[in-house]
């Protein structure tokens, strides 16, 4: 099994999910995020933001190519730079009471050499994701997507009239070509938003089947 992830403009998530469903996918989950601008000054002036939908679909290996093709074809009707699509391996899948273990694909897949990209995830306190993005961009990243989240806090953080005060977080997703990730991770390493205790974390995972969505893509 694989989990297919597509990052597309706001309100287009349903369209992608529908295309995938027609090609045999079961269902999709859509999250909202904010795309960062490509230009630093526009970013600073707040003119470059764009709202994004992030679509997650768990897909059996056999039907993956068909579903991917359906989404890519759908996106070709839209404008260029529509979005991106990638997948990650799923080793364990639970739905209703069915469990599917899937351990071997990884080797088979890496032989096909589709693992051209990596996904860097940086989780920082709210308000600092743009800083992290800027540092990453200087180190070679092209763009990122920011999701809002909140930390769970620790037991000792609690109690203001019995409620837990939890820190607000931002999750920054940056997809880069494989060779670029060390430089980017090195660049964000020294950021204030990642060095203090309890401020932030960053990690990097492999992804496969990276595809650009939109009109001009092959």
């Amino acid at each position: 099994m694989k989990i297919l992830t597509a990052i597309v403009p706001h309100n287009q998530g349903e369209l992608i999910a529908e295309a995938a469903r027609k090609a045999g996918a079961a269902g999709a989950t859509i999250q909202q995020g904010r795309g960062t601008a490509h230009n630093q000054i526009l970013q600073l002036l707040g003119l470059g933001d764009s709202e994004k939908d992030i679509v997650f679909i768990v897909v059996p290996l056999a039907s993956y190519p068909a579903i991917e093709k359906a989404i890519v074809d759908k996106s070709k009707l839209a404008k260029p730079h529509y979005g991106i699509l990638f997948s990650r391996h799923v080793h364990y899948f639970l739905k209703n009471t069915d469990v599917i273990f899937d351990q071997q694909i990884e080797e088979a897949d890496s032989m096909k050499n589709t693992n051209t990209h990596e996904l860097i995830t940086i989780i920082v306190n709210a308000g600092f994701a743009d800083d992290a993005m800027e540092a990453a961009r200087k180190a070679g990243a092209s763009g990122g997507t920011i999701l809002n989240g909140r930390g769970t806090g620790r037991a000792e953080d609690v109690s203001f009239f019995g409620i837990t005060i939890v820190p607000e977080k931002e999750v920054l997703l940056i997809l880069v070509e494989k060779g670029k990730s060390p430089a980017i991770l090195e660049a964000v390493k020294t950021l204030e938003s990642l060095t203090g205790p309890g401020t932030g974390i960053a990690y990097c995972t492999e992804v496969s089947d990276f595809v650009q969505l939109g009109k001009d893509t092959k």
Binding site: L44, G46, S50, R150, S159, F160, T164, E168
Partner: protein, 479 residues
């Protein structure tokens, strides 16, 4: 680019109004060439202004409010929390230009009332309700209980208040929820809810605006009971003359500056003592405030310059007795399209979609709101031509709204009460109001009571429409 995207979105919401007026122009109600020209220019101003304002709200007013609310809660200091939230409510209301206009109107009814005292009372009302509302979010007391108690209190007190004060009281609720304050108060509530852990915290993100608009209503009602009615001269609403652009722009500039100033002060205080954001965020937020400032000036100029005269002329033609059926029909359509162009409605529906993770779509909310406001304008037009008391609408309407709370999911009830205050924004209080006044004069009605009725109706029907939407959503699946 974000601005172009916003312009595309706002065109969709302003163009229907223009189409409606143009259709009427070529059929039942021809406008004078000058009014038509002004209307078209005003439309362009409105589209550009609304786009710029919304862009600014997204990166300026809303993040500032959210961060402020979150940081305030994180201090874990109850006295500080209550004092600061009271001060926030007090300051933004005290500076709100609409509240000052309202105070002057009260002085006309009863010269014994000191208008500064009244502004202070309304501001205290808002301040108290902001702190009560935020405390409610922290303590997780059910919001429905608050709405029920305060509305029952309000209507009970209303019996003892002279009727002139009543109309002002309901207007006061609308006046305090201006296009600058609504996004800020909304964001403040969301900020407090965001740092509160535990389940269902996003269902508590809304409702603060709805609660806050009760404050000034109660304040004016109490004042009415104390002062009584010593002057029988009725209030004549501002005659909708056709002011020139050179008059409108400076007037709007001062108005918007007054509303923005407290937000800038709060932003600086938040930054110094509470939030401490990185410099890049400050530049972004400041840019946002500037966009909102310029956008709102453009928007209000467009509405006052282009839409108000057109509204008056349309009302004057359609208000003639032989056009009664058409008046109601046009009112219904106008209500549906105008609510979609209210700045604060945009902000609210956008935030609901954002907080609900897209499961409550803004289009769904807008549709419900359009139905609600459409009904309210149609009903108001029936009243304009027949001239019966507004209480025949308000009492059953609010009773229904409170009853629906029993069946409606919490979050929808909160959104419904928020949208009540939000729907009666600058578009309604200029375009729809001048249309109503025009119709009222032409049909020989009483412009004062008719004008009051329409704003109160626009504030009421969303409570019903959104709650019905909420009840329907239970059937479709759990929210």
């Amino acid at each position: 680019m974000a601005l172009i995207h916003k312009i595309k979105e706002t065109i969709v919401s302003v163009v229907p109004i223009m189409v409606l007026v143009l259709i009427l122009n070529f059929t039942a109600a021809p406008l004078s060439p000058l009014t038509l020209l002004r209307f078209l220019i005003g439309g362009i101003f409105t589209i550009l202004g609304l786009s710029l304002f919304l862009l600014g709200a997204d990166i300026g007013i809303i993040p500032i409010g959210e961060k402020g609310g979150a940081a305030l809660t994180r201090k874990k200091n109850l006295p500080l929390f209550l004092c600061v939230s009271f001060a926030i409510g007090f300051i933004i209301t005290f500076a709100e230009p609409d509240v000052q206009v309202l105070a002057q109107q009260v002085q006309i009814i009863n010269p014994a009332v000191n208008s500064t005292l009244l502004v202070v009372m309304i501001s205290i009302g808002v301040g108290l309700f902001v702190s009560i509302g935020l405390l409610r979010t922290v303590l997780q007391i059910p919001i429905k209980l608050f709405f029920l108690i305060f509305y029952v209190l309000l209507f009970a007190a209303a019996f003892f208040t002279p009727s002139d004060f009543l109309s002002i009281a309901f207007d006061a609720g609308g006046a305090t929820t201006g296009p600058m304050t609504v996004p800020f108060i909304l964001a403040l509530g969301m900020g407090v809810a965001a740092v509160r852990g535990g389940k269902n915290n996003h269902t508590d993100s809304f409702g603060l605006t709805g609660l806050v608009s009760i404050g000034p209503i109660i304040a004016v009602i109490i004042l009415g009971i104390i002062m009584g009615n010593s002057n029988s001269t009725t209030l004549i609403p501002e005659a909708a003359a056709n002011p020139v652009l050179g008059h409108i722009i400076p007037e709007v500039f001062v108005e918007v500056s007054k509303a923005l100033l407290p937000l800038i002060i709060l932003f600086i205080l938040f930054q110094l003592f509470l939030i401490k954001m990185p410099p890049k965020q400050i530049i972004r937020m400041s840019a946002g405030l500037i966009y909102s400032f310029l956008g709102l000036i453009l928007f209000l100029t467009g509405v006052k310059y282009g839409f108000m005269p057109a509204g008056t002329e349309l009302g004057a033609v359609l208000g003639k007795p032989e056009n009664a059926a058409l008046l109601i029909l046009v009112g219904a359509i106008m209500g549906a399209v105008v609510v979609c162009a209210e700045p604060a409605v945009w902000v609210l529906t956008h935030q609901v979609e954002h907080i609900s993770g897209g499961s409550i779509k803004r289009k769904t909310l807008l549709t419900a709101l359009a139905f609600g406001v459409s009904l309210s304008i149609a009903l108001s037009m029936i009243r304009v031509t027949h001239g019966f008391s507004i209480w025949f609408y308000l009492i059953p309407g609010y009773t229904l709204a409170l009853l629906l709370m029993v069946f409606c999911p919490k979050m929808y009830t909160a959104i419904a009460f928020d949208s009540g205050g939000v729907a009666s924004g600058p578009m309604t209080s200029t375009f729809i109001l001048s249309f109503t006044l025009g119709a009222s004069l032409a049909s020989g009605g009483n412009p004062v009571t008719d004008a009051f009725g329409v704003i109160a109706m626009v504030a009421m029907t969303p409570l019903i429409a959104i709650q019905i939407l909420g009840i329907l959503s239970i059937k479709r699946g759990k929210h």
